[in-house]
């Protein structure tokens, strides 16, 4: 889980994030991803072959059930040199905050056995820059665009929802509640069912876009928060966000991350994520997007069996930018091998 809040003593004036001059021409490297391509293109392995990969998350229809996980996909353009963005089930961007967020001091990363610990601190250029400079690029692609948002107060969530709801080209909002409420002593919104419900209601009250609430696993009983959020009007849930953890450097006897605490992701968290998805999917009626440690199509299929209607690939994409495409292709191959016509047949099909 990422902290919006800075370490005590850090300069609060750093609230602005300068715009990165990212290597020129990521979009212009000629390959996949630029320009829009019809989903019916016969070369698209998703089309034809009699297998349906499409899924519905309430009013949101996805061409296939596999999307990137927020924060591991930048603003899409970073992956364009490697993959065809039009093949994804959805595009999911890094958490956007109202104002630019500078993020936590480095080091922000630490590798752990089969895992990644991060303390990025929600670094993002803020809503204005997103609308002006990132959204026009993202609109060029056919998959639905899901914008992930975070606020420091309930009102900020509402304002983000209102302003993004009024923008063109956004299919849904994903609400990151794994961040602290500055009005309530920094308690993480997603750890208190009532606070999570208030955020959900505030967002729902400001937009007609489908609202996906992203749950933190750093709670005693994730189903309690899931139900509270469902009752407050969420259209879908996504889980899990990262698990809080730390790493220590024995040589220097210091924490490996400058922020001390970070969020754990990657293969190491998969069993925890799978269990959380299974429990939540049984506790609520709204669709669930499962994530946490998915690397292969097999991993993704396990999440579907556990009850996820769709899945997200995060850390695996950082290591292999083509991982998400391999997952989509692998799901399709599995369906064909199993003689199944529709991916929806697998959702919640776990035999107990």
């Amino acid at each position: 889980m990422e902290q919006v809040e800075k370490k005590p003593g850090a300069n609060p004036k750093n609230r602005r994030e300068k715009l990165e001059f990212r290597g020129k021409g990521l979009a212009g490297t000629g390959c996949a991803g630029s320009g829009s391509k019809s989903r019916l293109n016969p070369q698209d392995p998703e089309a034809g072959a009699g297998v349906n990969l499409g899924v519905r998350l309430g009013d949101l229809t996805l061409p296939n059930p596999v999307m990137p996980a927020s924060g591991t996909f930048g603003f899409g353009e970073e992956y364009a040199p490697f993959i065809d963005l039009n093949r994804l089930g959805a595009l999911v961007v890094k958490t956007i905050t109202l104002e630019p967020t500078p993020g936590n001091p480095p080091p922000r990363l630490m590798e752990t056995p089969g895992g990644l610990l991060n303390s990025i601190g929600l670094q993002n250029p803020g809503l204005e820059v997103f609308l002006r400079e990132k959204l026009p690029y993202l609109r060029r692609f056919t998959p639905p665009l899901i914008v992930n948002i975070a606020g420091r107060t309930v009102e900020e969530y509402g304002e983000l929802a209102a302003r993004l709801g009024a923008a063109e080209g956004i299919a849904a909002l994903e609400v990151n509640i794994s961040c602290p409420n500055v009005r309530e002593g920094g308690i993480v919104f997603g750890t208190v069912p009532e606070m999570a419900a208030r955020v959900t209601a505030a967002v729902k009250g400001q937009t007609r876009l489908p609202v996906i609430v992203k749950l933190t696993p750093n709670v005693t009983d994730i189903t309690v928060v899931a139900r509270a959020v469902e009752d407050a009007g969420a259209d879908a849930l996504s889980l899990i966000n990262t698990l809080q953890g730390m790493a220590i450097d024995l040589e220097t006897r210091r924490p490996a991350l400058a922020n001390i605490v970070g969020g754990l992701s990657g293969p190491a968290v998969k069993p925890v994520a799978l269990y959380a998805v299974w429990r939540v999917a049984r506790a609520v009626k709204i669709p669930v997007i499962g994530m946490g440690g998915i690397v292969t199509a097999r991993d993704a299929l396990e999440f579907l069996l556990a009850g996820a209607r769709a899945v997200a690939v995060g850390t695996a994409g950082l290591v292999n930018p083509g991982a998400i495409i391999e997952v989509i292709d692998g799901i399709k191959t599995y369906l064909q091998e199993q003689g199944l016509q529709d991916v929806n047949e697998l959702v919640g099909a776990l035999q107990i």
Binding site: N11, N14, R16, E17, K18, E20, F21, R22, G23, L26, T29, G71, T72, F73, G74, E78, Y79, P81, F82, K94, P102, G103, P105, P106, P107, R108, L109, M110, E111, P113, G114, G115, L116, N118, I120, Q123, G266, P267, V295, T315, G317, L318, V319, N320, P321, G322
Partner: protein, 260 residues
């Protein structure tokens, strides 16, 4: 920038824990610029999970050469790869050094920081620059590739902390002495952060345009995760975080926030 499987042409140990790795990667070698790096999978399974960033030490004839220290599990795995085996890599990544021609250049390498400066020295010579190469290490055993360096047609200045070869003391002190006698148009450095900070302040005092290559832990290497940032100052002196993988690893020395 692309992802490919490169064949190992040669893997040579040139010191107790130092390796040279030659990879066949024509697509990357064709566009690689000094200061850029590649990001390598160092293992087959899920652990170690992340790629390892290594500078391009030399490039030409469809090959990349990497110069690295065996440090932990990833580089140990890499050192066990034999000719013919394949290595999964992304590259070329990052912004390299600014290339100029017909100038007087100082290249200052601390320890493993020699890795990217070797490639820079070669290109700089090809572009008709005069190159003074300052190379420092803890001791004589920490100096590598001296003959190859001399073969590039540069002036080589050596420093060791214990005086076992060349000047006794930090390489930045050796550079400082030459800085007074020569007027360099540009200076470039790579090495441990304290040495780079000293380099940057000497360059600033002498009004020499200077670039440094920085290191940070990385996950993606292509700008998607924001994990590899370093603090910079903009023209108004305001601090901000920039990705080392895409905004760097080479930065204007005057823009780096050395205090962190």
């Amino acid at each position: 920038m692309q992802k490919l499987e490169a064949e190992v042409v040669a893997s040579i140990r040139i010191g107790p824990d130092i390796c040279l790795l030659r990879l066949k990667a024509p697509a990357i070698a064709a566009t690689a610029r000094p200061g850029q790096f590649v990001h390598l999978r160092c293992g087959e399974g899920l652990d170690p999970l992340l790629r390892r960033p290594l500078s391009i030490h030399d490039s030409g004839d469809g090959e990349l050469t990497l110069f690295y220290q065996v440090k932990g599990r990833g580089t140990a795995w890499l050192s066990r790869q034999h000719p013919g085996s394949k290595v999964d890599l992304l590259g070329p990544l990052g912004r390299g050094f600014t290339l100029v021609s017909g100038r007087r250049l100082a290249l200052v390498a601390g320890g493993l920081g020699m890795a990217p400066l070797f490639f820079l020295a070669r290109r700089a010579r090809e572009l008709g620059n005069k190159v003074d190469f300052f190379y420092g290490a803890r001791d004589r055993q920490g100096l590598h590739r001296l003959e190859a360096l001399e073969g590039l047609g540069i002036r080589l200045f050596i420093a060791t902390d214990d005086g076992s070869a060349g000047f006794r003391g930090p390489v930045t002190a050796l550079w400082e002495k030459q800085l007074k006698a020569n007027s360099y148009d540009r200076a470039y450095a790579c090495g441990p952060r304290p040495a780079l900070a000293a380099f940057a302040s000497l360059a600033a005092a002498a009004a020499v345009t200077a670039e440094v290559s920085l290191e940070e832990r990385m996950a993606c290497g292509f700008g998607a995760c924001r994990g590899c940032v370093t603090a910079l100052r903009d023209s108004r002196g305001e601090k901000y975080y920039e990705n080392v993988c895409t905004g760097g690893p080479v930065f204007d020395a005057a823009a780096v926030c050395w205090e962190g």
